[in-house]
């Protein structure tokens, strides 16, 4: 069989699109981000509990008292988890994606319902969009749309379009042919037939499609978090990265609350907008009689409630307003409000250094945004220039692949911590296993398994091709590819039961402070020399902002500083990273001045 270079074709197509259709993607991006910013601004503006009240009134109107009360409780719960902002980000993302999905899918569905040929073409495309793993189109989405909301929206959209199209087509096709004929027999024009007969009768099915679009959109929220959209998806990713089951379930529950709310509301809306559904509901109510829990106000009453709450919310937004962040003192205001975006992967040293810089740069008068990514998307968006810099590249070994691919579009601002090390580690209770040499002949004890991380990771290649061979372990042990969170979970499980385990690990890593572990010695030097943790910036960042560029080039932390900062952040918990950084800076008052010196000598003590 000849090798068909399908992948090359795809690469070629992506390049061609990038060079020739850029204007189109820019236009789409403008539309997406514009809609998203608008909705997000509206949702973020009011006090959380007021908005929860508005949402509750909507539920009260659509489904009755019980739904209203539960809605308020659910959203208040999200607020109490400190996830309100993230939840609203996710909600706006899903709403925008749904809106756009409907604008696209309903007409396509109608078209497909009216033409078998269109239907035959559309169906495989939908299958393709729905089954292609999300990660595969996430990277192109970043290439085309940059990181942030629009890439997340596109990813959600691609996944969520299919049910919208399918259900619209199905709904229209299943309208009784005799009814359509009757409409035609009375001289109804095709368009009017669609509007007067087919769509009203297909509406319940179409609304079921809308419902599915929203649900799939929400299920994509976690994945969208990998491309820097933030929101609950970002929280989930962060939790996975840190093996923080608690935070993960908080974000998960918040997603579920959003999902249930949107599901029930679109379901009820489906009944309300379709005349048939309205009648069925009215009959059910009549049969039931008046009950407090299923009582629903008239639309006018509900509208008044929403308007009053919205006015109160608006008024408070005008008069209260968010507290403006403290501005930098004169002389230290180097940034003068310039914007800097830092990207980070939710790894401890990355989080610590990123929020350290966020705090320091804000003190120096910059507006800093810290965006969380998965590794691939982070490099992509750095190369695209969407992110100004990131602080967590392990070079020259571990992240060599990324550097090879994107190095030309990036600037290396040098290492700020090192050397790091890669190693195999065992729990301290594994007596007699201290060096890689000691693993020989012990395969039975460890079940012949070395628990690894992502097979794509640099250290896994190194382990399989070099390290095992150097100690003659390659026939004896099997390296199990999984993922970093899975490896850590496995470690945690084994550690709790005091079972034998050997894992791939690297330093610095928080696992060493949480668990009592032994790094296996490497007398042969098979792992090679350690990496440095490098700061990478987009091409030309240091030229655009020479001051920050110089600060980053000079950036350095000692192991004591880094572990201290990490510990402070872990102690503070999610969402308080910057508070932790401030607390740490209080204890280490000289650091800010050392990292970001200003001309004015008085500033060094700030």
């Amino acid at each position: 069989m000849p090798r068909i270079p399908f992948g090359d074709w795809v690469n070629g197509a992506v390049d061609w699109l990038l060079h020739h259709m850029g204007w189109l993607f820019d236009l789409l991006k403008t539309v997406f981000t514009g809609t998203y910013d608008g909705i997000d601004a509206v949702l973020q503006a009011p006090e959380p509990l007021l908005l929860a009240g508005i949402l509750a009134v909507v539920a009260f109107w659509l489904r009755g008292t019980a739904a209203g009360v539960l809605t308020f409780a659910g959203f208040a719960f999200i607020d109490s988890l400190d996830l309100w902002e993230d939840a609203m980000v996710t909600l706006s993302l899903v709403l925008v994606a749904t809106l756009i999905a409907l604008v696209v899918s309903v007409p396509v569905g109608i078209w497909a319902a009216r033409s078998d040929r269109v239907s035959a073409v559309v169906r495989p495309v939908l299958d393709f969009m729905q089954t292609l793993p999300a990660m595969i189109y996430l990277i192109p989405a970043i290439l085309f749309f940059g990181t942030g909301a629009s890439a997340g929206i596109v990813a959600t959209l691609i996944f969520a379009l299919a049910p919208g199209v399918r259900m619209t087509e199905l709904g229209i096709r299943q309208v009784d042919a005799e009814l359509v004929e009757a409409a035609e027999a009375f001289g109804t024009a095709p368009r009017a037939t669609l509007l007067r007969v087919q769509l009203p009768l297909a509406l319940p099915t179409v609304m079921a499609g809308v419902n599915q679009v929203i649900m799939l959109g929400l299920s994509m929220a976690a994945i969208a978090g990998m491309v820097g959209t933030g929101g609950l998806g970002g929280d989930v990713n962060e939790a996975i990265g840190q093996l923080d089951v608690g935070l993960g379930s908080e974000a998960g529950v918040a997603i579920v609350i959003l999902a249930i709310y949107l599901d029930r509301m679109t379901g009820a809306l489906g009944t309300q907008v379709s005349p048939l559904g309205r009648r069925a509901a009215a009959r059910a109510r009549a049969a039931q009689g008046l009950r407090i829990w299923s009582y629903r106000p008239r639309p006018a009453v509900a509208l008044v409630g929403v308007v009053v709450l919205a006015l109160v919310a608006g008024g408070m937004g005008v008069f209260g307003g968010p507290a403006t962040p403290a501005t930098a003192a004169d002389g230290q205001d180097v940034g003068r409000g310039r914007k800097i975006t830092i990207g980070y992967i939710p790894w401890d040293e990355g989080v610590a250094s990123t929020f350290l810089w966020k705090e320091i740069l804000e003190r120096r008068g910059y507006q800093v945004e810290a965006r969380q990514f998965d590794a691939g998307p982070l490099y992509t968006s750095l190369a695209q220039g969407d992110v100004d810099f990131e602080t967590d590249s392990w070079l020259p070994t571990t992240h060599a692949e990324y550097w090879k691919k994107y190095g030309e579009q990036l600037d290396d601002l040098g290492s700020w911590y090192g050397p790091t090390s890669l190693e195999l580690s065992v729990p301290a209770y594994m007596k007699g296993v201290d060096s890689l040499e000691d693993l020989k002949g012990q395969a039975g004890r460890f079940g012949g398994r070395i628990t690894g991380i992502e097979s794509s990771a640099g250290m896994m290649g190194l382990l399989k091709s070099k390290v095992l061979k150097a100690y003659g372990l390659d026939g004896e042990y099997e390296v199990v590819d999984s993922s970093t969170p899975a490896m850590l979970a496995e470690l945690k499980r084994a550690y709790a039961r005091k079972q034998p385990i050997v894992v791939t690990l690297w330093s610095p890593h928080w696992a060493y402070s949480d668990y009592d572990l032994k790094k296996l010695k490497d007398p042969e030097g098979a792992w090679g020399k350690g990496d440095g943790v490098h700061t990478l910036s987009r091409k030309g960042f240091a030229k655009d902002d020479p001051v920050v560029g110089k600060w980053l080039k000079d950036f350095e932390l000692t192991e004591k500083q880094l572990t201290g900062l990490e510990a402070e952040i872990n102690k503070a918990g999610k969402g308080r990273q910057q508070d932790a950084v401030r607390a740490w800076l209080e204890k280490n008052p000289s650091v800010a001045g050392e990292l970001a010196p200003v001309e004015d000598s008085a500033a060094t003590t700030s």
């Binding site: 005799e178 009814l179 004929e181 009757a182 027999a185 009375f186 001289g187 109804t188 024009a189 005349p275």
Partner: protein, 359 residues
């Protein structure tokens, strides 16, 4: 105000290259030959005229092409060949927009399964045609309510289709068709889905309405009894062709072929036949000279039987000018009822032997 409808050599062929198929049919090809090529000839060379105010019934079994024929009359289906002329207009020559205009104003239709819009109330259903025409809402309501009243549904305006029985639903369908004041009413097996008692009711009501409204109606049915009851003229279709086109009595008394004849076997003749059809016109001239009761050509068969039972001699039939036009001997009544036209013969082998044997 009703208008004349004319179907002129209508063909409808489904499948590939329909024109070529029509050409072959014209040269005498048979429906089965075409089916072998994958084309279906639904209607073959159908021609007929419907006079104003007439109920024209098209009768045939399923698959005979009657529904296809009906849909060509209002342009829902475009004939492969031939013309439909209505009200002096060739419908086959009209564009889609003009055809819709004709359908919305001049031709309306009643469906087999009622085809009421489930998302509209009874009144909104009845007003549908007017809504398509763009009639203002108030007038629309008024006219739809009037049509519902005609159909016997006054007071049900605010109900919903699924709250009504089948018969009532079809009354809504009828009201919807009547509301537009169309001159031509196409009824596609409109009463077939109803149970027999309701069906009779609806037939009676249609006849009653027709006396008032004088619409031109084309009625499709597979039920010959219904065809006989309703039709001023009846066309019988078989395998896409009109095999006979005549009055109910023509069909019954003078079937065009064995197929039609076999059809008529099950018909309740006593409900269709009248004195005019069964009377003997071979007259002596003095049959009405006594003072006994007499019949007219329109006297139903059943009444004729009753008279015959009361009279000692054949019933005389007089026309409206009281001129003698025929007589109905009892023998003839029995013969028509049994579909036997021959005169009585002799007993085989003579009579005496049988009498002796008995004695």
């Amino acid at each position: 105000m009703s208008s004349r409808l004319e179907a002129d050599h209508l063909y409808k062929v489904f499948g590939r290259r329909p024109e070529a198929a029509v050409e072959r049919l014209r040269q005498g090809a048979d429906r089965e030959e075409l089916r072998a090529d994958g084309t279906t000839a639904a209607v073959i060379d159908a021609s007929f005229t419907v006079e104003p105010g007439q109920i024209f019934v098209v009768m045939g079994l399923s698959g005979s092409g009657k529904s296809t024929l009906l849909r060509m009359l209002n342009g829902l289906l475009e004939p492969t060949a031939g013309h439909v002329r209505f009200d002096g207009q060739d419908l086959t020559a009209l564009g889609a927009r003009e055809l819709r205009e004709v359908r919305s104003k001049k031709i309306s239709m009643v469906f087999q399964h009622f085809a009421l819009f489930p998302h509209r109330s009874v009144l909104e259903n009845a007003a549908y045609g007017l809504e398509v025409q763009g009639v203002p809402a108030a007038e629309r309501r008024e006219r739809a309510a009037a049509a519902l009243e005609l159909a016997g549904l006054a007071g049900w305006e605010k109900s919903w289709p699924d709250e009504l029985s089948g018969g009532m639903q079809q009354r809504v369908g009828l009201a919807r068709a009547l509301a537009t004041d169309a001159g031509l009413l196409l009824m596609d097996e409109s009463f077939s889905a109803l149970d027999p008692l309701i069906r009779r009711d609806m037939q009676d009501q249609l006849l009653e309405l027709q006396k008032k409204l004088k619409k031109t109606i084309v009625f499709i049915t597979h039920d010959l009894n219904e065809a006989m009851r309703l039709g001023d003229r009846v066309a019988v279709m078989r395998d896409g062709r009109v095999v006979q086109n005549g009055t109910a009595e023509d069909i019954l008394v003078r079937p065009a072929d064995d197929y039609v004849a076999s059809f008529t076997q099950d018909v309740d003749r006593s409900r269709v036949l009248t004195a005019g059809a069964v009377m003997d016109t071979d007259l002596r001239g003095d049959e009405a000279d006594c003072a006994c009761e007499t019949a007219t050509p329109d006297t139903p068969f059943v009444d004729l039987c009753a008279m015959s039972a009361r009279l000692p001699h054949p019933v005389a039939v007089l026309d409206e000018k009281h001129a003698l036009v025929g007589v109905v001997p009892r023998q003839r009544l029995v013969g028509f009822l049994g579909d036997e036209r021959r005169t009585p013969g002799q007993c085989p082998g003579g009579r005496t032997k049988g009498v002796k044997a008995r004695a």
